[in-house]
Symmetry: C2
Subunit: 440 residues, 2 copies
């Protein structure tokens, strides 16, 4: 696709463009710093990615799309410019490599993803990719190389299945290649377009120990940091997720002729249950969350007492044990509540994603690095899934969150300031240097 001029770009993507309008002012301040992180360069690269696949509805850099290819091409150029050797692996991951001083050591890995959801924004994934590039380029240009080889990665198809990172962990099956992705392609076709190999996808798997460690910077996708005015979040882990189909069975009956006292209204049970889930989850100490996101009453007529209700229940926490304990409690509460008006309740799990704790050394290192730079920070869980979750089965991982204005993501309205991304990149750089010294 032909790239628009800056004027066209501003006219077509006002929200995205506005994010970069004040770049030079922030960036000049950071250029004065001596650690090699260049805020102005970071901002101009963020803006360059934002121009690709831009539409009035948002960014369409979906995996394997022309825009995704163009973003990867730009990223490849910047990596090569910084002195990295670039390759694409069988799983479509774009990887730049810089030798270390000790070739016997496994590489340190950093990076995120450049792809977006359909009608997405220009920060989710991009902020981490460009921050990693900036930290890596600073190391390459510093004249003080790491002991470990350094690899910078753009993971393939994070948004629609974490394909690239899951393939490294050996979690992608050949059958997934037939799944549809945005833009009328199968996942296999999208993978082939970026230079991966759908036929050999399972060969992309790495052995545990292949990497010395992985650091990812990502936007928070929640308003905590932005609201509290904290520069970065040090992620303690990525929460586990269990999802259940819940069915409440009562008895459908005429809404005019059936007295209140003899009703077996499945929706009244469902209402009491979902309120109990909300209140119980809030009452427990900790940061677990539980959500009923979908509900349907049958037969669903205004003049018929609902005879059955289907709803979804999702529970997330850093500890799978907490999820299990909450689930046990929800089952107890559900059965008590159901019994009160002669209804039944059943639970069926249909989705499981295991929690991925961050490595204690990485957490401590990120925190100490931030402190040394005067960057305010707080420990927090990641409520959303990330590539780091897959890599955690191969190597110790750490994650940095940067603030998301209003917590918005997967939207053209998502926004993180260049100043915040630059702060994050500096913590990333300092942490890479410290981990390089601490790790074998």
């Amino acid at each position: 696709m032909p790239h628009p001029t800056r004027r066209e770009f501003l006219a077509r993507t006002a929200p995205a463009a506005a994010a970069f309008a004040s770049v030079p002012r922030f960036a000049r301040a950071f250029r004065t710093l001596q650690d090699g992180v260049d805020g102005e360069r970071l901002a101009s690269r963020m803006e360059a990615i934002a121009r690709i696949g831009a539409t009035p509805e948002g960014a369409f850099r979906t995996a394997g799309s022309d825009a995704d290819l163009a973003a990867r091409e730009a990223f490849t150029g910047w990596l090569e410019e910084a002195g990295f050797a670039v390759r694409t692996d069988l799983a479509g991951n774009l990887i730049g490599r810089l030798p270390g001083t000790d070739s016997s050591l496994p590489p340190l890995l950093t990076g995120s993803h450049l792809d977006s959801v359909p009608a997405g924004g220009n920060f989710d994934g991009v902020a981490g990719s460009i921050a990693s590039l900036e930290a890596a380029a600073a190391i390459a240009a510093s004249g003080a190389p790491l002991r470990h080889p350094l690899e910078v990665v753009d993971f393939f198809n994070e948004e629609n299945g974490k394909t690239g990172s899951r393939a490294l962990a050996g979690e992608v099956t050949p059958e997934e290649m037939d799944l549809p992705v945005y833009g009328g392609l199968t996942l296999g076709q999208a993978l082939a377009r970026v230079g991966g190999s759908p036929e050999r996808i399972t060969e992309a798997a790495l052995e545990p120990g292949h990497y010395a460690g992985f650091l990812e910077l990502h936007v928070e996708q929640s308003p905590t940091l932005a609201t509290e005015g904290i520069d970065i979040g040090v992620v303690e882990g990525i929460v586990g997720i269990r999802r259940f189909r819940v069915r409440v069975s009562g008895f459908a009956n005429h809404a005019g002729t059936t007295a209140m006292g003899i009703r077996r209204d499945a929706l009244v049970t469902a209402g009491r249950f979902l309120v109990a889930v909300h209140e119980e989850t809030q009452a427990w100490p900790g940061r677990q969350v539980a959500t009923v996101g979908r509900i349907e009453a049958h037969p669903g007529a205004p003049n018929v007492i609902p005879g059955a209700v289907d709803l979804t229940l999702e529970i997330r926490d850093l500890r799978m044990e907490t999820i299990e304990a909450l689930y046990q409690r929800f089952q107890e509460l559900g059965r008590e509540i159901a019994r009160r008006n002669q209804t039944d309740i059943t639970f069926e799990q249909y989705y499981l994603s295991r929690a991925a704790p961050c490595d204690p050394l990485f957490i401590d290192t990120l925190e100490a690095a931030a402190e040394s730079l005067g960057v305010s920070n707080v420990r927090m869980p990641s409520g959303a899934g990330h590539d780091a979750q897959s890599i955690a089965v191969l190597a110790p991982v750490g994650m940095i969150f940067v603030p998301s204005r209003d917590g918005i993501s997967h939207s053209p309205r998502e926004f993180t300031s260049v100043a915040d991304i630059t702060s994050g990149a500096r913590v990333l750089l300092e942490s890479l240097r410290r981990l390089d010294g601490a790790l074998d």
Copy 2:
């Protein structure tokens, strides 16, 4: 359609046929009574109607269908056999008339409807039609005519809009003739098929005072009488109905990254609200009912906190004032509940059906008639709409309910015993005689 033999009928419609299997035993007992109500004849006519339009899925005597025409033809024959002059009015109502001894008096009207919902049963409407016919035939055969002319009516299209009775009350608009009815016809085409006039439908309206009064027998469509072992219900009135669209607005957000304490979950508000509606309605003295029958959460994904919820709210009671008071209270509760987690709630009425009280003289007369015959009885509201509701704007009305096994209606599983319908027919007959004496 060719009518099946009795054997074919039994094989094809086991539930309907089973209803009549024990008829002769009940009926012989009632034949010994001296009031002229013939239980065996009543049963054989119920069975004859049940054969028409019978399918394995239930009865399909929808308005204007071949089966509806065949049922009307059979009913016409029985009315004529009893000495009634039969006509069809502009609104498709089939009416048999027997002169009284005082031609200056307005007629007494009794009857119900022969049409069914698609896949319906053989008691809703039919029980009242055949019971009215039986009571009227007993009067005609008694040698003791009434003072008032006596009319027996089969109202056109009760099930899909109460067209016949509403037309008499002047409530049907010409536009309704274009509405679709079951079987691929418009309402106007269905009306023309039974001999009515869609072009002149508004001329079917009658003046108040045209009838001296109206008595309808109907199945209860609720389990109260059957459960409590009471022979008949003396209806105090037909409840009014108001239906509202309720919308709860919160804020959709990521179900993993949004802490419980800052959620503006529209479904939590909706759950608390619908439970409050249920509990408040049950706590008030009286027999009002309120129902949330349909609910939808937006966007409706398991991993997104619902940002908006749409639900229906229906309130029914004999007194419109009670409905209004409950509605006011629900609005208060809804706003209180919504405020608690920073959500909004709005109400929009989209349906109104005014309550139709039965006439005190008619209620007393039905009760006294039942007592005189040793038929156990209880006063009760009608939670469902009936033709009597429309006729109430023209004349005083009374209604008799007979027991519905398990309260089931609009289903091939609906059932009322012949013994109970015969008891109801005897109360109807005795009440017609008493009202004939009491009314001008």
